[in-house]
Symmetry: D2
Subunit: 447 residues, 4 copies
């Protein structure tokens, strides 16, 4: 785990100490279930717990592992050191993976819990900005080119909705991976009982694998990392949007700039969207991790251990980075400095050309064939665009009002023969154009 991109709570989940604590919980849960099934003397788990809980020494376990090259045996040896005789009843009929897979499931669940908390914070930030700017007009862009007006609120509502879908995906993946097995060497309960497994796993918040092999099936884990990668891609979409908005020539929003933060050693006015760029890089990593996880599914026979090295790396890294991403994105969205004036100014760059479709449709409604209407609108739009220098790049305020799109329409006799000045005005009405925007935002925020 790279500390720079890992919150302490995620680091804790993947710490040695925490892992050993979970192993102990799993062993004791199994032991208690065996006590209930009367295959282990009553009181064993309680006795072991009393002598071990809070007393595990990770360094000591690692010493044992150095020697035995087997992590679970090293752990059990340490338990025996602490708990003495009753420890011999632990792990009865179990295999290492019974402990390891239940433990991994618990860790992945804890990580998902943290990540989902971050998603909620991020969604709340999006909701707040969507509400705040539900009626703030800005130009919508396709292909990076001005298209028709939208509102800034719509963009945030879109993020909110998309994150809602990613949330469901992570939630489902977390459920799918909340599975363990206490079924022995090849999953047959040869020296165990399915009832023991059911009881033990239930007490750990897990369900039994339907058909265990030596391990829990790795399609579950692959799906988990797929869900994280998907969440990462949705965060990336937010980040890419902010990067575009913050471009010098666009300037519609800016990442919050910390007091005393320095953008550049030489250009003091420079404020760079570095949080967003960072999130884009992390999204690439999330996509990568998924790919390795997908190759872990087709293990050999009842298991091979090739998935283990992958999971040792991507378990902590993918969850740590994903959690970091949603938290960082939440503060990015929450702190974003939105410049509604600049949005309005950019919106007006093309002098209302985006109303051309509304005029066209109005002419069609008046009975004109679509093609004729198109040509009438087009010749005025072309002339207005040319006056704006749009053919060679927008950005110039039209020299004269008489060359603006609205003025040209009003001066075109073919159009004036069909549309009154009032009708043209109604077609060129931003309010009318955006009449559904607030409803879409509201509809999205209900979900």
């Amino acid at each position: 785990m790279i500390p720079r991109y890992t919150r302490p709570s995620l680091a804790a989940i993947w710490s040695d100490a925490h892992r050993y604590d979970i192993w102990l919980r799993v062993e004791l849960a199994a032991c208690e279930a065996m006590e209930h099934a009367a295959t282990v003397p009553s009181g064993t788990a309680a006795a072991v717990r009393a002598r071990t809980e809070g007393k595990l020494d990770p360094a000591r376990i690692l010493e044992h592992e150095e020697r035995t090259k087997h992590d679970v045996i090293a752990f059990l040896t340490h338990i025996e050191e602490l708990a003495g005789e009753p420890a011999r009843w632990l792990h009865l009929g179990m295999t290492s993976s019974d402990v390891l897979d239940a433990s991994l499931a618990i860790q992945l669940g804890e990580a998902a819990h943290e990540i989902l908390g971050g998603v909620d914070a991020l969604r709340e930030a999006c909701r707040a900005r969507a509400t705040e700017h539900r009626a703030t007009p800005m130009i919508g862009r396709s292909h990076g080119i001005h298209a028709e007006p939208i509102t800034a609120g719509l963009v945030f509502a879109g993020f909110y909705a998309e994150l809602g879908r990613a949330r469901v995906a992570v939630q489902r993946a977390a459920e799918e991976v909340a599975v363990g097995k206490i079924a022995g060497a090849v999953g047959t309960y040869a020296n165990l009982d399915p009832a023991v497994e059911a009881r033990a796993l239930r007490s750990l918040g897990l369900r039994p694998e339907t058909v265990p092999t030596q391990i829990v099936s790795r399609d579950r884990h692959a799906a988990y990392f797929q869900a994280l990668a998907r969440l990462g891609a949705s965060v990336e979409r937010i980040a890419v949007t902010v990067r575009h908005w913050q471009r010098t020539e666009v300037g519609e929003a800016q990442e919050a700039f910390g007091k005393g933060q320095k953008g550049s050693s030489a250009m003091p006015h420079k404020k760079n969207p570095i949080l967003s760029e960072n999130l884009c890089g992390l999204a690439r990593l999330m996509r990568s991790y998924q790919q390795a996880a997908m190759e872990d599914v087709a293990l050999w026979h009842e298991r091979d251990i090739s998935h283990s090295s992958v999971e040792r790396v991507i378990g902590p890294d993918a969850t740590g980075i994903c959690d970091f991403m949603v938290r960082r994105a939440a503060s990015l969205v929450g702190g974003l400095v939105i410049n509604a004036d600049r949005m309005r100014r950019n919106l007006e760059l093309t002098g209302g050309l985006f109303f051309s479709e509304a005029i066209l449709l109005e002419l069609v409604r008046k009975g004109l064939p679509r093609q004729s209407a198109y040509e009438m609108v087009q010749r005025n739009a072309m002339r207005a665009a040319s006056a704006l220098g749009l053919g060679s790049g927008a950005g110039q305020v039209p020299e004269s009002e008489t060359e603006g799109f609205r003025a040209l329409l009003a001066a075109d006799p073919d159009i004036r023969a069909r549309l009154s000045s009032d009708e043209i005005d109604r077609a060129c009405d931003l309010g009318h154009h955006l009449r559904h925007a607030a409803d879409i935002v509201d509809r999205a925020l209900l979900e």
Copy 2:
């Protein structure tokens, strides 16, 4: 689409003719909804339908596209050729993506339907083999090394269960992508109405996008291709298993061999698991396609069109190959020649060494500390293993019964002091070992 790996029904879904038919359905559905909203003259859709349905000429549309470089405009031009005046009411206030995205959603839905049919066939094949071999003992292997006994039915039941999870994933992904938008250039319904969209999409079996941009959000499509990749990986697990079983030295199952099929031009006895190997390669492609789809999520602003080239390729290819995979896997599993005798022979290769754990546990239950029990069992297991040549590779039948594991146990005074011959026999009982196998199979097949 590569014909070799595409069934005709999938090829049909992605044919030009079918796509244009769907485009027409979408345009007419929108038109009818507008008629209902009284923004288009009643009867328009019916008139257009009467003059166009079954009469679209893909070649003619492609001619138009050659000239206009715009597929949807080319299509509408052709509709106008066929339907005349009423056609001018089509596409009113709509943008090309309104048609394209609804159409893609329908195609992905149709493809998912075919794929799910294949999954069902494959699961049925697994269910049949699981039932047939629910009690056929075979050796379970971890790391490719003999571990403890399982049944062949368990393996198939495991495939059945895993495919059930993949099925749910594909089903959910298909639902998530069953979404369209009829909301205009940037998704604001500037010249449309959400009610028209809702009515039109409902009639097409789709739901409206929560917050449309110019397009339906691409996280939905990414999730779809993730689900296919996951299904591919689960099929790969089956294929890898068959490849292992069919190895010359293992020989526990073989792909069905067609009459007159030739394995090799020189070695007439050679039967290769080529279907399974083929499936492994195709699973790699499925993983690849997913990766491209993930990069389509973070489009610029209200859309850029970079996703389009990706989807033109992986829409047909990923669904076509995935459908092919599940169908081929179904016939692979259905036709598999399972050699229960060979399974039994392989099971016996280690002379019952896999009962060592049962003996160990029996000694612990008799009160022996685990470590002492372990050593007693180990010394006999080691000796038996050595007699089998297992240290340097298994495969030899033990020279003499007296060196077999069971015989050695019976001859060890420390063990005989604690376990009677009957108790040893009970611990070395394959039936006892596998007593839960059938239940696991049954439990899995219920789902």
Copy 3:
């Protein structure tokens, strides 16, 4: 292969007819080498060639394959149909992969040749634009934010240099894959001779695999697809740059717009960077294909055939798309409408703030500690930036010249105490700032 993204010359390389022609060339090359080694009667190859060259019937071969399920046997059967008795000497001691791998190597070589031709065309286009605009000033941007001036020529020279590196990579990969084997079933020349292989492959323009198995080692092919993916990523960088330049608010360049091409049915002025967006999507596919190829390296033992399905798809698709990409990129760069005026206007948006570093360094050279110099420059830069509205987005021409950065510096007594007006002017000299630009361009174009 998707026709939309495949040039005819690439489609031809992967056509059935061409593949069979190559197979015939390989068989005859081997036969001639055997004749030279006197293990086959002299004149055999000539006789077979006379009766088959130009007469192969792909449909007939596919008929045979339908029956035998073996492509090479089907091919040989057809050769026998055409050539009669002498055909029995073909393929002597050879295995199918001897033919298939040499053939694939030839096809990959042909494809690389086409791709490299496209790279050359693309580099020529970049060279021309670099030369044309070697002195055209534009603002350099980091993080999408104005940084310091560059020239447009530098950007194209950068593309030129990067494509040169990609070219070397593709060239090397093509050499690495120009390898065949005529070494029999498991690469031991059991019924062949290395000398025959050497002679035959040399005549085909190939080298022998160092240690053949049944096939040529797949790390070579993986490296080939890696090189194509790398080339794709470098084309993507060009495409992303164009997309940024063409943004409405930037407008520094535009894709050429075909006569009669329609950007949008409703907004006639709309010109979208669709070629560039298309290239970005295709680059994603190139990255994907590489991933599948990488999984083909670790085949089982002396070969398994899982790589075959991957190669059947990505052989044609990855080379076809890559070739298409470089050709399209060449015409994109060649046709790009570059707007030097707009570049200049954008450059001036910040009123020369980018000279702040030059002033800072000048003050340091005058003996001021860096920190003091920084503060002096900063306070003026901040004030100038604020007058420009840069804190909340650039784009406004400063209200008054007296608030411009240059004017503020001249009015600051601390600065004027150290720098004369002339010295300030020299530090704020765009020509001086860009004095090395043309040299960098020239240096790059020499390579």
Copy 4:
């Protein structure tokens, strides 16, 4: 970096302390070059070096970074603390990336050096085993099915050759990335000089970027990680081979088993190929990292910083894991317990059926049409195979010699009419079959 998979020497390369040392070297190299160009007072670098070398305090720098949020500024502040006045001449006209990219290039070069050392060790191990077993016969397998004989030495020679290719790829990638820039904010040398850059970089063992932007072009880094992924895949092929050889039913080789190592807590004879499985998992990670690096190429304009988070993770992780892989693979190959007896026993499992092709060719040489010869051989091979139980899985020694392939051939009158007993024997001669094996090994080891 995950300690479990990182050697100390790799951890050291990526440590904070080492990175700061390199930064200092870069700053001083630039300073000395400026002294040489007389733009900085002579003796500056020497003075700074005297006061800083070996005295950098990483913790103190991190403190500064905590406040400034800028790593290079924090570093320079610390240098100033230590070196006082002369420090103000450092970094003159430079941008942070001038330091960072040169530093990264040096670290990647150091890592490549370690990795290449590991590759050499691994190749030496392969060479030794190839030499040792150049004449050890084993059965070659295609599709996991017995094909024709090879020698064990051939397999290792193949690994040796493939690793040689991977080595070249890593070496070239290391050269391609051995590039820096000291060219200022956007690579124009606005306040610098190319001669200073050339001198400084040369002293650091680096070359200047042909056309720098703010940074060194990221296609170079992508190629570096591609080369590591390729190396990983070639190591994976070795690992997969060992896993197959160690299967219980095959038993041709085994990973060395440490004294006191425990394979399983219950089955004392169990020895699992865990090193090889581990390597397979790590190869998946290497493939993943490459994918993220490929997405870093197309940065925005003169740079965006999205690559940075990717590199912070995969720089250390990919190099650390790759180095670990080659070292582990070297000890795996070196320690491998090869069981030549078992190889021989497996080779004989099919009773010489693999000579069928030799017989076939002998009959063709005697003038028989290929098809007739094929049928004659086939009927005997089929009968022999059936006697071996090969149709339903190999592994049984033929009941009677008279049913062996050789005996059947000798008893077939059609064959005996054409081939003498001696001729049959010569065709069934393993020595003849493998006559080229040693030469191939020798040829490979020369490279």
